[in-house]
Amino acid sequence: MNFSNLFRIAYRALLRNKLRAFLTMLGIIIGVASVIAMVAIGQGSKQSIHDQLSSMGTNMLTVQPASNLNGGVRIAGTSFQTLTSKDIDALKNHPQYITELSPSVSSKGQAINGALNWPTTMTGVSPEYLDIRKLSVKDGIPFTQNDVLTSAKVCLIGQTVIDNIFPNGENPIGKIIRFGHIPFQIIGVLSPKGFNTFGQDQDDILIAPYTTVQKRILATIYYSNIYASAASEDVTDLAVTEMTNKLRASHRLRDSEDNDFTVRTQQELIATLSSTSGLLTVLLTVVASISLVIGGIGIMNIMYVSVTERTKEIGLRMSIGARGKDILLQFLMEAILISITGGVIGVLLGFLSTQIVTMTLGWPTIISQSSVVLSFVVCAVTGIFFGYYPAQKASRLDPIEALRYE
């Protein structure tokens, strides 16, 4: 039997029971649509993480204090106090690797304006910090090296803090607020950055000279981090090596000792997070694939029912000359038609639901071609795989028995 006849037979048989064909398709439709939507969501979030981190500067380097297992007791990295002004001095003057440097110390506390207050974080940094983090001052001016030297009680304010302690839209520039017990004059407003990938509000912040935070609020000589800019993206690895060597020297670590700090590059962070969301994509895909398999089992189930229900039809077809092979191919073709039609509808529904997710929830999504192709191939394979056994059962029926079946 030639292909067009085969196609015609299967196609007519499906048309004869449209509802059943549709119900069979449903599993495939949902499976394919969910694969496409899930992968689109996974890919979209991966891309947006990447974009956000890149916008923070791909040549940013971060030094964090870390455990070096001295004495055998590990404590959380942030509670180590190993970074001091000596380290800043050690890292200075290597313009071929490091162009900008800023220590950072943070303190949580209440920002108070008269009767209004708001819990926020004050980060103490040097003026270079704004450059390193690609922050900018929207109104007013940033503080200067002189403010650092004098531990000036000035600060830059983020939009969220403004919204909460200056709710009536007054200009905060020049105003005095208190952070804890210390009065600060607001000299600049930071350009809003919105939420970051981790859901943190990047505008819920006060930025002040690090000396002010160290001396007037925390009374510490240690830094919680050191931020630096590599001279270019290409030298980040060299910069990491250089910084590590300088810091080891500055910390007087012997060769046998581990680092008591870590130097991270932005690329590492991007890679880590991308692989995390890559894992998310894999998980989502697995879940969606399971629904595709369930769809396939649905096909098998209905095809079995269909073979039983259509026993008499099969008997008739055999009596007028259909060979076992013809019957097998007919039912296989039906299964394939169902799964491919379901696949097409599923792809469309996948596109649609992805659009809906983007529009209603505002999630970034990217429909990947490979997910469309893959789910389509899986569909066809599912049709053949799960359609085969019912089709084989049909093809092995005895024509007389089948004709007599009621």
Binding site: M1, N5, L316, M318, I320, G321, A322, R323
Partner: protein
């Protein structure tokens, strides 16, 4: 006549039912010439259907020979038998066996879909032609449930004719029909037999149906009890004309 339409010799068919063996056919021998109109008679359980299934190559005898149009069917495998059914045999069943929700034309086309050498246009043409032969050409787009029993059986006959078989096999083809409609079907059979020279083997248990054929083989308990030629078969057309006309039967 050089070649018989069919030839059977000492045909036996046994069914194993657990430890018991049912001997449905116990040694049957007869020939049918091309162009003969044979009815097979016999009470229920006498083996008529079993015999017809073998003649129609749906089943194989346990022992014995069967030549269809000179071909020894013993030598054929399942697929070759299917081909043979497609090319040489047209079946008509008691319960019509039309595909539901499928137009008369598509039902008639069905055997041609299993015949490789036929183009789409030829298929349509031949199916239409077959419908004309049973005078249903203007119902070609009707679904089976929009047709009366007699009309459905005529569609089934058109389906049996469409591949131009050498032989039409009918099993109680008038069994579900009232007598007027039965006569209509028999008139059609007689016409196919006389004008197209189709060999017909028609199973029935009604003697008045057998009277329309040129030969009657009487089966009893799996053997041929009587094989009689009918020199002047009744004309179903005349019988039909003689029946009082009642509009109820006309759809």
């Amino acid at each position: 006549m050089s070649k018989k339409a069919l030839e059977i010799k000492e045909l036996k068919r046994e069914f194993k039912m657990g430890s018991e063996t049912v001997r449905a056919l116990k040694g049957i021998t007869f020939d049918v010439e091309p162009g003969e109109f044979v009815t097979i008679m016999g009470s229920s359980g006498s083996g008529k259907t079993t015999l017809l299934n073998i003649l129609g190559c749906l089943d194989k005898p346990t022992i014995g020979d069967y030549f269809l149009d000179g071909v020894d069917i013993k030598k054929l495998n399942r697929d070759e038998l299917a081909q043979l059914r497609n090319h040489k045999i047209g079946f008509v069943f008691q319960s019509y066996n039309l595909l539901a929700r499928t137009s008369a034309l598509e039902n008639v086309e069905l055997p041609l879909l299993y015949n490789k050498g036929i183009s789409v246009s030829e298929r349509r043409e031949r199916a239409m032609h077959a419908l004309e032969a049973v005078k249903l050409e203007n119902r070609f787009d009707h679904m089976p449930n929009q047709l009366s029993g007699g009309q459905q059986q005529r569609v089934a006959i058109a389906r049996a004719l469409v591949n131009q078989p050498v032989m039409i096999l009918a099993d109680e083809a008038t069994g579900n029909l009232d007598s007027r409609t039965s006569y209509e079907i028999m008139a059609l059979m007689q016409e196919l037999n006389s004008t197209q020279g189709k060999t017909i083997v028609f199973v029935t248990h009604e003697p008045d149906i057998a009277a329309f054929s040129s030969r009657t083989i009487q089966l009893r308990d799996g053997i041929v009890q009587k094989d009689t030629k009918n020199e002047n078969p009744k004309s179903a057309k005349e019988m039909l004309a003689a029946l009082p006309v009642t509009d109820d039967y006309k759809i």
